[in-house]
């Protein structure tokens, strides 16, 4: 699989997982003592793509794969640092709604990109057949 398809697949995975996490946070908006969770993916992606410097092994050639390959599994991170209300619940509904919109857009973006890639493949295959 080409790296682009791999990254897009992982992005879709992450968006799906985040959707579940947001749904869980919103469903528990009135549960005493509940702590919200977050999904970390974009930071990992930025690091894997070399946009953001991370700790990584020295490579003798830029074309070499980084150590460990592209490790892009989204991760659920509980957020225990804040408290919104007297009962210990820290779900901020405004934030969840903004995250929700952002996540939907990310998902749509990834699907659109994926479709573009697939259309390109299809085009190449069809043209080669002539």
């Amino acid at each position: 699989m080409t790296p682009a398809l791999y990254v897009l697949e992982k992005a879709l995975d992450a968006a799906t997982l985040r959707q579940r996490v947001i749904a869980h946070n919103v469903a528990n908006v009135n549960t005493p003592g509940f702590k919200r969770s977050d999904v970390s993916f974009e930071e990992k992606l930025a690091r894997a793509l070399g946009v953001e410097p991370g700790v990584e092994l020295y490579r003798t050639h830029p074309g070499h794969l980084p150590a460990g390959g592209l490790e892009l599994t989204p991760e659920v991170v509980p957020d225990n640092s804040t408290t919104m209300r007297q009962d210990g619940n820290n779900v901020d509904i405004d934030r969840e709604m903004v995250d929700l919109v952002q996540n939907s857009l990310n998902f749509n973006f990834a699907v659109q990109q994926l479709n573009g890639r697939l259309a390109m493949l299809r085009y190449v295959i069809n043209e080669g057949r002539r």
Partner: protein, 141 residues
């Protein structure tokens, strides 16, 4: 990773908030009830929400075990009943005071608004998940 669990999670939120609304409606309807099967005035009821987790982890990609919310119990509010002087009431005690339910309309209205808003938020999340599922069906078309 699949999107359908997200729908189920939002549905659990909708169920819980609707149950809360039902209980609030019941409290308000019984605001003047002085007779219950157990005797004594009606007591305000409160739902207890609890985070719901998946019992068993599924093998693949199940690092997140959140499964929404559930109503763990419906408990009675233990604050003492409201006492009103009304000797003509059939349920008045020898001192002329009637014990009325420990319900405060303002509390109930505020709870009602939070329940409605939380319900709406869950609907929003549900719609987003639905749109995402439909979008996923377009992959490769």
């Amino acid at each position: 990773m699949e999107l359908l669990p997200a729908l189920a999670i939002s549905a659990s939120g909708l169920t819980a908030e609707r149950l809360r609304l039902d209980i609030i409606a019941n409290n308000l309807a019984n605001i003047n009830t002085t007779r219950t099967p157990r005797g004594g005035p009606y007591r305000r009821q409160v739902p207890v929400f609890a985070e719901k987790l998946q019992e068993a982890l599924k093998p693949a990609g199940a690092q997140f075990k959140g499964a929404g919310v559930e109503v763990a119990a419906i408990v009675e509010d233990n604050t003492p009943p409201r006492r009103v002087y009304d000797p003509s009431h059939p349920d008045a005690g020898p001192d002329g005071y009637v014990a009325l339910p420990n319900i405060n309309v303002v509390n109930e209205m505020v709870d009602m608004i939070t329940a409605t808003r939380a319900y709406e938020a869950n609907v929003t999340v549900l719609n987003a998940a639905k749109a995402m599922t439909l979008k996923a069906l377009e992959i490769g078309r």
